[in-house]
Symmetry: C3
Subunit: 342 residues, 3 copies
Amino acid sequence: MPPHLLSVDSLSRDHVDHLLRVAARMEPIAQRRQVTRVLEGAVLGNLFFEASTRTRVSFNAAFCRLGGSVCDTTGFTFSSMAKGESLYDTSRVMSGYCDAIVMRHPEQGSVAEFAAATHVPVINGGDGPGEHPSQALLDLYTIDKEFTRLGKQLADAHVLLTGDLKYGRTVHSLIKLLSLYAPMRLTLVAPPGLEMPSHLVDLVASRGHRVEQRDSLADDYSDVDVVYTTRIQKERFTAEMSEGFSLSRDFTVDRAFLDGRCGRDTLVMHPLPRDSRPDANDLDVDLNGDPRLAIFRQTDNGIPVRMAIFATLLQVESLIEQDLRPVRWFVPKRLGVDDAAL
Amino acid sequence: MPPHLLSVDSLSRDHVDHLLRVAARMEPIAQRRQVTRVLEGAVLGNLFFEASTRTRVSFNAAFCRLGGSVCDTTGFTFSSMAKGESLYDTSRVMSGYCDAIVMRHPEQGSVAEFAAATHVPVINGGDGPGEHPSQALLDLYTIDKEFTRLGKQLADAHVLLTGDLKYGRTVHSLIKLLSLYAPMRLTLVAPPGLEMPSHLVDLVASRGHRVEQRDSLADDYSDVDVVYTTRIQKERFTAEMSEGFSLSRDFTVDRAFLDGRCGRDTLVMHPLPRDSRPDANDLDVDLNGDPRLAIFRQTDNGIPVRMAIFATLLQVESLIEQDLRPVRWFVPKRLGVDDAAL
Amino acid sequence: MPPHLLSVDSLSRDHVDHLLRVAARMEPIAQRRQVTRVLEGAVLGNLFFEASTRTRVSFNAAFCRLGGSVCDTTGFTFSSMAKGESLYDTSRVMSGYCDAIVMRHPEQGSVAEFAAATHVPVINGGDGPGEHPSQALLDLYTIDKEFTRLGKQLADAHVLLTGDLKYGRTVHSLIKLLSLYAPMRLTLVAPPGLEMPSHLVDLVASRGHRVEQRDSLADDYSDVDVVYTTRIQKERFTAEMSEGFSLSRDFTVDRAFLDGRCGRDTLVMHPLPRDSRPDANDLDVDLNGDPRLAIFRQTDNGIPVRMAIFATLLQVESLIEQDLRPVRWFVPKRLGVDDAAL
């Protein structure tokens, strides 16, 4: 494994397979049937220069479930950076305090610059329009786990990616990871102007996958295994694009689309947050409670996957199985009121 | 017990008695004579959508003293909610990361809406003008503990509630809890326009308590057992009420009032924070160091009461007594320089 | 030891020696070869009323490495203080929740006022232009540790202090601590208007040290053992001083100065953050990777020194050696890519 997790580009198929295997071994802890303290005494620096409560809490909880302690930093300005401190100095200082560092930063490349100044493992928690590798890994882990449940295989899978394919960094990272696996079929459906960048389409095609681009969901998708839809990233639009843009209802994934055009087993995924305001036309809430809606199983998977990332970078993954004991507190059978019985 | 703690309305007399008994068993830990790790491995999501440092730290410390880890979130906007995420989604996602959730939110009903989306225990840490049940429980626990010390009983107690009885949610919840107990005498003294809502007066009277409303503290209160006074909640006033309002000095609880009009054992309580600025006419600082001033014993009681809430909702209350060991570090005999020797 | 750590003025030579000895015993933990859980169950209140990420994380990590839990508070306004709560009330309430409190506050004297209301140990994490005793202790610890490595002794040492000697509180506290030791030579070089306050010069001279003030670095400093340079604290300037002020390049400590005017073993220290913007003329980045640059060894030393402060105030320093076990996770041999091999 590379010493840091900065980009999915640095991961080979073997690395990814290893991380997914370790994540699977974390399930008893993530599902709160077992407790481990293997990282007791270790300190995580959880540095969020950009707000992202979900991702921050997910990394924090994953490190705690391994037994470690977390120092959180939030806010758009890092106090000493406002006084002219370089990323180099910040990195070297923080690595004197912490055993691992998660960093989210609005500027692309900043996390890699930060990592270059230390040998303490650094995990990219999102660098603006750049990368967010732990999200891509948990997406892949979710597809793999759901496929196993459904008796399907990644080879020959048909994945439909829709929504903002231009600015949604999670779909960029996800298709890179998927492309490491056996050839599959990828269908890309985006509103005009928000298409997947062509270098990514070319990359995936060059690895033997069948890629098709369409401009509408009004089609037959009965053989699609996964519909991965994303929020429109309006905050990354240029002023010109923003003006007058509104997502057509035609791009909404809802019960009518799923019942009318997809298969009985078609999974729906979304990196969240989804915009549930009426005019957003994001993934519709009418699928809540439908077993095909995998979005909350997907966020739940963030815990074992991030535990696997920490355990692997800190090289404790082989110690955990000897360091387990049963949970003693109340754990609900289901987390949400309408979680689908599977 | 109900699965969540959203309102005192959901608590029966038996529930309250159980929580107070469990809180009493937490005292050796809360007073730092013993350590327990019964919740080691558990994660609390401490979600404060509205600033309240004291309440946040109190819940955080209580969970840590049970051995758990805490993920804190502060700030008026939750980053993903600003992107249109519903409380439903936030709740379901957070419950995938955490074993229990404390939530404070400026909007009444929001915490109940959040709790409806998960089976993980949710505790209302205050929802605007709505409820703040842990505060009411620690107030009741304080009265009960102080009465035991003074050889008094709740039955036939005389409790004087004064200050902002209209907007002070803590007094609303407190009299509901008191009304579950043996008939007592409640005297309500508020400035004009800030009287206790009549439906609460009626509720308490209907349960057999003797309720009297007055408009002045200039009276004989020599048989009052507890004076519970509250800050004027100007931030909840309408613009019309705010204009020109200033609390008369006549409503100030100070040494002169306590010495001149109350009994030798009369306790003074306050939910804090108190406004100590000279013109605020809140509870006077001239009582600091007086053993009748119970306000800091009251905040201290927040720890065992919140530990009891967590232990009960997470069903570990019976495990704690087998999981204790002595504290090894320095613990001062008294916390404050003028804590009254009792 | 005094019950709180508010100022270096309260420390005798014996206290300082004790703290440095305890810090040395913390090294195996701070360097992540050993783990201790001696403070398991204890809670630190880490109250930062002024932003200072580095200092906050350093105290947080030090307490975690002793096994304790931390409740962090950041932000310029404390929510209840905005409602008129006094420091007295805040202190008394917080000490009911926490076993030790670190406080940073923009107003000089505020931390002492806070400490006066509690018997829980309070550590001054910086009170505006006032004190920052843990920084001075880690500076002294660094000098002592580096001298031991170089076969030097504090007696007869020659320390050059330069930069903003008027507003830099760290240099004020440091020379007070140095003055407790065997007579040494102190050379003070400041731009006009930023000289060391005369009462401090007089204090140090009265204790038998040789103090010399100069106005330029363009001199022979070949016998200087330590160059301690500081950032210009423009945020503390009066408006009149600020106008048109820019630090001359002549005051920059860089490779040319060190190679041309200092000795082969001369150490360079800085309290950080350093302003690395091109026109700041703060400590130059061209010394990165030079073994004489001790600034990151200096921040690393913040962990054992702050651990020693906590361990001493909480009286567990003698328990740690029986409570150690080896670290099980990956620890890099060097933290930074260009840490000098020593």
